[in-house]
Amino acid sequence: MSPTTPESPTSVTEDLLVQRLRARDESAMTLFYDKYSSALYGVILRIVKTEEVAEDVLQESLVKIWNSFQSYDASKGRLFTWVLNVSRNLAIDKIRSRQYRVSSRTQPLEESAALRQAATPTFRPEHIGLQEMTSKLNPEQKQIIDLLYFGGFTQSEVAEELNLPLGTVKTRARAAIKVLAKLIR
């Protein structure tokens, strides 16, 4: 990349982004947005269900990422891991603060537009489509992962919700994640 050409979202590396954010470079947040917003928005939307709320949460996430960037420790994990958790926690706070859970907990993922939408290539060359991933998970594993990861449920709450022993929930959750990890191994 020549220094004079405008930076494109995919061209900016995570290291450079972290470096600029640490230097309090506001324009880096625009690059950050272009690089990660689709992925973050998808996860947030999956949790909060409505586009308006998802947009609010995405904006709150950007503010929180900017304001608490000094707490990001690159040695503990990648930038995306950290920002994904920031956004996911804000989205879960949102649905816990409102009465989202009663109406949304029984909604099956299959109704989600995300499943039908073709995966958009983003920053991950090894990006794998949702259909491909869910086909590797069995329905029980998928249900537990969705409740834990997108529903803001604790393992005990999942056990209660699905009327399963806590041990079974833990076993299935671990198994599900092992499957996901194997897919990129």
Partner: protein, 282 residues
């Protein structure tokens, strides 16, 4: 501690899911930092979960990029607006403009607050003064109303007396009335009265100049002498007897003389001749 057992215990998956408490998270991070195998496994698990998250990628709706980035810009400038020094150092004009109205607003609010309190105090004082004035006005008004009604009733009495006097004057000045002077008899030589008689209308008025005061239960009675016979012309009221005013008596068809006698209160059918006080002829 068997690392392989730790990896397979499932705690790393729970860590990635964010379901561990703070103490458990710290433990995982300590092991990850100490054992590269743990870190490697944890990375893999996190990437697996992130891939799943990323598989939910949604293209945001049109216009969202501008809205969210503008909202982000506005939000991160808010804390700076609270610190004027930082704002002054900030080369972006926009943030200074956004900071000053906030301060001016706060100052304006304080000023308005002080002004409101001052106005309230002034208003209360004014109310007290006005209330006292109103109270004394009310008292004065009541007194004036009493005065006014007293004056009005006096006026009414005066008007009534004026009416009477006007009427009396009309009788006295009328050419239709003939005056008959009644002189005192030997019973009361000082007694003196006058009868005004209108032959056309038969009206009779008595005008007393001087009559002896009568004891309780006695009253003067006027008589008209018609062809030698006494005809009752009515009883004199106390005020008439005292000489206070004219008194209209009973109408008399015909008379050549008038006389007054002292009779029991209410009058008699026939005069008690020995008590005749005054007598007068045409």
């Amino acid at each position: 501690m068997n690392i392989q057992e730790y990896i397979e215990s499932g705690i790393l998956e729970e860590y990635a899911l964010g379901v561990l408490d703070a103490a458990q998270r710290a433990e995982v991070e300590r092991y990850a930092a100490e054992y590269p195998a743990v870190q490697q496994e944890l990375d893999l698990i996190q990437q697996g979960l992130e891939s799943y998250a990323q598989a939910h990628t949604q293209n945001p709706p049109a216009g969202m990029r501008e809205r969210v980035l503008a909202g982000f810009q506005a939000a991160i400038r808010q804390p700076e607006a609270a610190a004027p020094v930082a704002v002054a150092a900030e080369p972006v004009v926009r943030s200074i403009a956004s900071a000053q109205p906030g301060e001016a607003e706060a100052a304006g609010f304080n000023w308005l607050m002080a002004a409101s309190v001052a106005l309230l105090v002034l208003s209360a004082a004014a109310n007290l003064i006005l209330y006292n004035r109103w109270q004394s006005s009310e008292t004065q008004l009541v007194a004036l109303q009493a005065d006014q009604s007293r004056v009005a009733s006096t006026m009414q009495a005066v008007e009534k007396r004026l009416d009477t006097r006007t009427q009396e004057l009309a009788v006295l000045r009328s050419e239709q009335f003939n005056a008959v002077e009644l002189a005192g008899t030997p019973v009361a030589p000082e007694a003196k009265a006058r009868v005004l008689y209108n032959k056309a209308t038969k009206a009779v008025y008595v005008d007393v100049r001087n009559l002896p005061t009568l004891p309780e239960g006695k009253q003067y009675q006027l008589w008209a002498m018609d062809k030698g016979k006494p005809v009752d012309a009515g009883m004199l009221a106390a005020a008439t007897t005292a000489g206070d005013s004219l008194q209209q008596m009973k109408n008399i068809a015909n008379a050549e003389a008038f006389a007054m006698t002292v009779e029991p209160a209410g009058g008699s059918e026939n005069p008690t001749m020995e008590t005749m006080t005054v007598l007068g002829k045409f």
